[in-house]
């Protein structure tokens, strides 16, 4: 590529990057701005830098506790989803049993019943079980995932049958084969799904919003953020809170970018 053309592309790419990142830039500027000076300030640079927005957001929004709770819930959901998906995927990939096709359809059918549709009756269930403001209430409805089952089943189907036959001859039981061979061989797919599941669980809003009644003691990070935006505060406080809330997933994105990409594109591109 000629230098001129390369330069043109770099220019375009930089412009696009600025547009994509601009909202984040404004967010950061506002988070460290002195809100009482806001009406005279330009918007590009902070007038009067103040970092106490972060400490105020942390305290007033109970962000410390919220982060811990979010992490517990997220790890819980991810672990359960991966476990149930791996087990079910194994059954669909390697085992023969009656009604296999129907059951697989049943699994896929759950994709048609997202939480947004079943919200009201599920809340009724939560009330009957007394699971409002509880970890089990936040975790159990998401303990299984059809998407994960599908993805990991694809991965299992890719395992060469010679390995399966050899294991059979050696006398490995299904569980042993699963743990010693199937899972390690499909680690990339499982890792991808884990990361996607993790991100989805951490960023949940609707369900926690619906079942958390004692926000002070049970809010996850996303709900704590809502608490901050509906209090009459100086405007830098909820914004600083949003920055704090974004940090964990940004870290995940940086560490696991490749897995995330693979997981997101798994359904899109064959192979």
């Amino acid at each position: 590529m000629s230098r001129g053309r390369a330069l043109a592309w770099y220019l375009l790419l930089t412009t696009l990057s600025v547009l994509v990142l601009a909202p984040i830039y404004f967010l950061l500027v506002r988070a460290i701005s002195d809100p009482t000076k806001a009406f005279t300030s330009s918007v590009l640079t902070p007038q009067g830098v103040r970092f106490d927005g972060f400490s105020q957001a942390w305290e007033r929004g109970n962000l410390g506790g919220a982060l811990v709770r979010s992490l517990v819930v997220t790890v819980g959901i991810t672990t359960l989803q991966v476990t149930t998906s791996v087990l079910a995927a194994y059954a669909f990939a390697f085992l023969r049993f009656p009604f296999k096709r129907v059951l697989f359809a049943v699994f896929m059918a759950t994709l048609l019943l997202p939480l947004e549709v079943t919200l009201l009756p599920n809340l009724h269930t939560m009330r009957d079980l007394g699971w409002f403001d509880s970890y089990q209430g936040l975790i159990m409805p998401f303990a299984a995932a059809a998407f994960g089952t599908f993805l990991i089943r694809q991965g299992f189907l890719g395992i060469p049958s010679e390995i399966r036959d050899a294991a059979r001859l050696e006398g490995w039981s299904h569980l042993q084969f699963l743990v010693r061979f199937a899972v390690p061989l499909t680690r990339p797919v499982i890792a991808s799904f884990s990361v996607i599941s993790f991100m989805g669980a951490f960023n949940q809003y609707l369900w926690p919003r619906a079942i958390i009644t004692d926000a002070e003691s049970w809010a996850t990070v996303q709900i704590a953020l809502r608490g901050l935006t509906s209090r009459i505060e100086q405007s830098n406080v909820p914004v600083a809170g949003a920055v704090i809330a974004a940090v964990p997933i940004v870290i995940v994105l940086i560490l696991f970018q490749r897995q995330i990409v693979r997981g997101l594109t798994a359904g899109a591109v064959k192979g």
């Binding site: 085992l95 079943t118 009756p121 089952t149 990409v261 899109a268």
Partner: protein, 300 residues
């Protein structure tokens, strides 16, 4: 090979295998039954009843309630607002995602940096993205406090004609990362020889894009459309955080209306709205399957 293997398994072996399968599937099935299928059935039933505000007068009203609600204002408005959200976010996601992906799909030094930047909005949750746009277009503290030119002088989020658009902006931005990643994967799957052959045949870059590239990534684009439509139909957080359904209920999507109907006197209506939402989602997914299957048969 496995089939040949299994053909020699005895009956008790078959039983054991079936039981193992049951054990492996059971955990997922229990969760699905408890939190997807059982609630769905309860949903349909609840739509046939009405109650008072204190929950002490649950009574049968029959399919009439389905008829009333689905033909009524609430469903129509909710559906329209949800559709507006879809119309704002999906084409934008397609176009912007493709633009970013095409720009970043080339061999340049440091291209990885740009790819990371373009995918960065994946890291934002809907709550964070909503706060980001609070800072941008909130009429008191936003960077831009005006309205949309041509739609009156009201601020974007306070004008019933433009509020839905304002809320969509947050979703459009948040979807950039996802759209980019998916379209890029599609572009990267195009064999180089195809591009080279087209260039050799004298196709200019624009023609190449529309005649060769676009058709080849159309399955990926279709997948992206479905994902974005599903996301749009499920949107809740941006609405609650930016406008709480207002102004003048102009941003109350179906999901928002459902969420607002948790009290016993509104549960019947909420249940019917939920079934309506299911119907819409089902039709969309059905449409996707049909289109995709056709593509596979007759397409590239």
């Amino acid at each position: 090979m496995i089939a040949r293997q299994e053909a020699t398994v005895s009956d008790s072996g078959r039983l054991r295998e079936a039981l193992t399968a049951l054990a492996f599937i059971a955990p997922s099935l229990v969760v699905f039954w408890a939190f997807s299928f059982y609630p769905f059935q309860q949903l349909i039933l609840r739509g046939l009843y009405r109650n008072n505000a204190s929950g002490t007068n649950l009574r049968w009203v029959g399919w009439e309630q389905y008829g009333d609600v689905l033909a009524g204002n609430e469903f129509r408005d909710g559906l329209w607002h949800s559709m507006q959200f879809v119309l704002f976010t999906v084409p934008a996601g397609l176009v912007l995602g493709t633009v970013l992906a095409v720009a970043a799909n080339r061999r340049l030094r440091g291209i990885k940096v740009f790819q990371t930047i373009f995918s960065s909005t994946i890291a934002t949750s809907t709550a964070v993205a909503s706060v980001v746009f609070l800072v941008l277009i909130n009429q008191q503290i936003g960077v831009y406090q005006g309205g949309v030119p041509g739609f009156g002088s009201q601020a974007i989020l306070e004008n019933p004609s433009t509020a839905m658009f304002g809320v969509s902006l947050s979703a459009i931005w948040q979807n950039l990362g996802l759209s980019f990643v998916i379209v890029l994967a599609g572009l990267q799957a195009i064999p180089q020889e195809v591009e080279e052959a087209a260039t050799l045949d004298g196709y200019g870059p624009v023609r190449r894009f529309f005649r060769i590239t676009l058709p080849m990534i159309s399955p990926v684009l279709l997948f992206l459309v479905v994902v974005l439509v599903i996301f749009a139909l499920q949107a809740f957080a941006p609405i609650e955080l930016l406008t709480s359904g207002g102004p003048a209920r102009s941003t109350e999507t179906l999901v928002y209306k459902i969420f607002e109907r948790q009290t016993p006197d509104l549960l019947g209506e909420g249940a019917v709205l939920s079934v309506g939402l299911f119907g819409v989602t089902f039709l969309v997914t059905l449409g996707q399957f049909l289109l995709l299957e056709r593509r596979v048969h007759y397409g590239s």
